[in-house]
């Protein structure tokens, strides 16, 4: 990186040091000089629309918005003066009078609203303009959030977040002048939008109550909530979360802006699915008596398991664990492995091969940064839109904002196809097709190859070989940076810890007479029910005498169990998880476990010590 030149700006008589290329606002903020803002948000491009950040520059009669005016060496800037105060106050009064800002009934009331805060800062006790009281709609059709045009100040922070963070560009501004309106998909609603991914970055960036989460509205102020930073366990990217809690419940979950991984962004799974979805928690141990699962105590449940295992040989017992388990739980498991004939982590199809291929070959911890910076991205056998929303957002950003090439091979149809130069859901063997691939990749300087589980199929391997040939023969640039992207949260670390990844348990039925199967589904969203859809699993369950399921949520699998042990969920765990880049990331306990639930590690230790 080229070191930029240091500049000095005098702000309100204070000598402030900044870098060449920084805006006046950035220099001021870096030097602890407060300038009021509304449409500015640190990680979005400046807009200069709200005119609250206006400043005076000595020697110029013009007033400029500091968020979008570059600071130049030696200038003298004034941020507070009667004239600026008067202008800012007028701007705010116009904003207040333009739409229906009724503080007492707004979920952002009492401290979470930027407009209200600026009204206070500027001592606004009444509005001198006539109120317009426009008749505006409220879009409640979205699954997780509401768009209330009455409270919108058209700062476009949502529009920019949608474009710049998620890359979806669902939102924009329609109409002209006083009729300006935030619009979803050229006039759709959130409920009917094709392009909205429900990532919620628009809500997280809204300064007023125009966009708010349904599950957090009126559940307490954010600015006095406790914030705990932990790691998302929904996929192997390992996004950092800021979890807002009050009185032992989650108020909302935002992305952590300081995280080098997700830089404040989240996908729908981390942002909403883990807490804003109705899921039936298992809150106490259950034991099957006379064919029915009945609530019981931990002692009785553990006793029931001890009874069932008493006469069994080691080889008759097996354990299947979710690839979401923490690294600490993996260590415990490794220690206990001798007590079972087989212990394996159950991964999706072809992922075991991906874990095997990754064995010992560390992915660079900068893989995501390289992806952000790539000028050609090849996606092979992976489904980032479905499985790793934040990676999909990075890919959209690379294509839409930087013009990177995108090639997709051997993956299901997704919204990414729309941005792809070549999208081959079914890979062609024709010469012409590969010639075209070569042409697209010609001259790529920083290519990246993201490959998922399906790259491990014969077709995937074939594509990989041809791509490598193309890179060797056609491009003079770098060979592509290889980024293996598994589906499961911690499958790489679990296999590295010596717990085998298994995607076919057919041999388990035939090889040894299994009597007991212990499944650690942990907090898998479907309570482990996905296992029932896998080949051989129903047959295996039919063949055994005793099924122990350790899970957080009720499912068809827990309904079949003989003993069900309630497991803690993501926000109740502490420990570490390892993302696909090999970074060890902290899990911090946000809430105490609900009901009788216990951490997976604790359950396993109590059972077998």
């Amino acid at each position: 990186m080229i070191a930029s030149r240091q500049i000095t700006v005098t702000i309100n008589g204070k000598r402030c040091v900044g870098q060449d290329g920084q805006t006046i606002l950035q220099v001021a903020q870096a030097n602890d000089v407060y300038i009021p803002t509304l449409c500015y948000l640190k990680h979005l491009s400046p807009w200069g629309g709200c005119r609250l950040c206006i400043v005076e520059i000595a020697g110029s009669s013009k007033i400029v918005p500091s968020c979008s005016t570059p600071a130049s060496d030696g200038t003298e800037v004034i941020t507070t003066s009667p004239r600026l105060h008067h202008l800012r106050r007028n701007t705010l009064e116009l904003l207040f009078s333009e739409r229906n800002h009724i503080c007492p009934m707004c979920p952002m009331n009492k401290g979470d609203c930027g407009l209200q805060h600026q009204g206070y800062v500027h001592g606004i006790d009444s509005i001198r303009y006539p109120y317009l009281y426009p008749s505006l709609p409220v879009d409640t059709s979205g699954k997780y959030f509401v768009l209330d045009h009455n409270r919108c100040i058209l700062c476009t922070r949502c529009v920019r977040a949608c474009e710049e963070m998620e890359g979806a560009h669902t939102l924009d501004i329609s109409h002209r002048g006083a009729n300006n309106r935030v619009v979803v998909d050229l006039g759709a609603t959130f409920g009917t939008s094709d392009s909205c991914t429900n990532c919620g970055s628009c809500v997280a960036s809204c300064p007023t109550g125009a966009l708010f989460d349904k599950a957090s509205a009126y559940r307490g102020k954010l600015n006095s909530s406790q914030i705990v930073r932990t790691t998302c366990l929904e996929c192997p990217v390992g996004c950092s979360l800021e979890v807002y809690t009050r009185e032992n419940r989650i108020v909302t979950v935002f992305g952590d802006p300081e995280s080098p991984i997700n830089r404040g962004h989240l996908c729908v799974r981390g942002r909403y699915e883990t807490w804003a979805e109705p899921r039936e928690r298992i809150l106490q141990p259950l034991v099957r008596r006379n064919g029915k699962l009945e609530p019981t105590t931990w002692d009785e449940a553990l006793g029931a398991i001890a009874n069932a295992t008493k006469k069994l040989r080691t080889a008759q017992k097996a354990m299947l664990v979710s690839p979401r388990l923490t690294n600490e739980t993996a260590k415990t498991l490794k220690r206990l492995a001798g007590k079972f004939g087989r212990v394996a982590t159950f991964v999706s199809q072809n992922e075991a091969a991906l874990c095997g291929a990754n064995d010992g070959e560390a992915v660079p911890a900068s893989a995501l940064d390289e992806l952000r910076d790539a000028d050609a991205i090849i996606v092979l056998g992976a489904q980032p839109s479905r499985d790793n929303g934040v990676v999909a957002a990075m890919i959209r950003g690379a294509v839409r904002r930087r013009g990177a090439k995108l090639l997709i091979f051997h993956a299901r149809k997704s919204d990414l196809d729309r941005y792809a130069d070549i999208s081959a859901n079914v890979v062609s063997l024709e010469r012409a097709f590969w010639k075209q691939v070569g042409t697209v990749l010609q001259g790529a300087q920083r290519p990246a190859l993201v490959y998922g589980p399906n790259a491990m199929t014969p077709i995937g391997v074939m594509v990989m070989e041809r791509l490598i040939n193309i890179f060797e023969a056609k491009t003079k640039g770098q060979p592509p940076r290889l980024v293996p992207l598994p589906v499961s949260t911690n499958s790489f670390a679990l296999t590295a810890a010596g717990i085998e990844a298994e995607e076919d348990i057919g041999p388990w039925i035939d090889a040894k007479p299994l009597k007991l199967l212990h499944i650690v589904a942990s907090d898998e969203p479907d309570g482990g029910a996905r296992l029932l859809r896998e080949k051989h699993v129903p047959a295996l369950l039919d063949a055994i005498d005793c099924l122990v399921v350790q899970a957080s949520y009720r499912s068809a699998l827990t309904d079949r169990a003989h003993v069900v042990l309630p497991a803690a969920i993501w926000c109740e765990k502490s420990g570490t998880t390892t993302n696909f880049e090999g970074r060890e990331l902290p899990l911090r306990q946000v809430l105490p476990p609900r009901g009788e639930a216990r951490d997976d590690k604790v359950i396993l230790e109590t059972l077998f010590s």
């Binding site: 009724i102 007492p104 009934m105 009204g119 206070y120 006790d125 001198r128 109120y131 009281y133 008749s135």
Partner: protein, 181 residues
Amino acid sequence: MNEKPKIKVATAWLGGCSGCHMSILDIDERIIDLAKLVEFTASPITDVKEIPEVDVGIIEGAVCNEENEHVLRTMRSRCKVLIALGDCALTGNIPALRNQFKLKEVVARGFIETESTQVGEMPDTTVVPRLLKRVRPIQEFVKVDAHIPGCPPDADTIWYALTELLAGRMPQWSEKNLQYD
């Protein structure tokens, strides 16, 4: 000992919930100190209806109907200083929510479609004050001298504003003492 003549105060309750008047009473025992300085004339608190000539007029609520407007203009003509108390008087607030709808719809919702109404009819406007087309804050009708925002303004805010005004100063609003809710 010659007592200083008390400052005469009248208050009126227009389109609002009376929460601001409740909040005046929430100044608790300080009302004794206040009573030494001021005399409450017409007010929902004293139940005196006719507004006399006063020094200070305090208005709660937005202007929703012709009667509200009449009371407001009467108050303005008979007081020296007019104070807007609370968000309804200042912004329209909750009563102004009906501005999004047609007047006919609003009246029908209130007099005919209410869940508890069995046989409703549109009101006779010779008896019930006619609604204005739009609910508006009082400063859109008359000159207002001082503003106390809040829904309702809490007792301390009211106390601060009143004592400042009685001392002949305008209340200074900032981040520290402003609240819109």
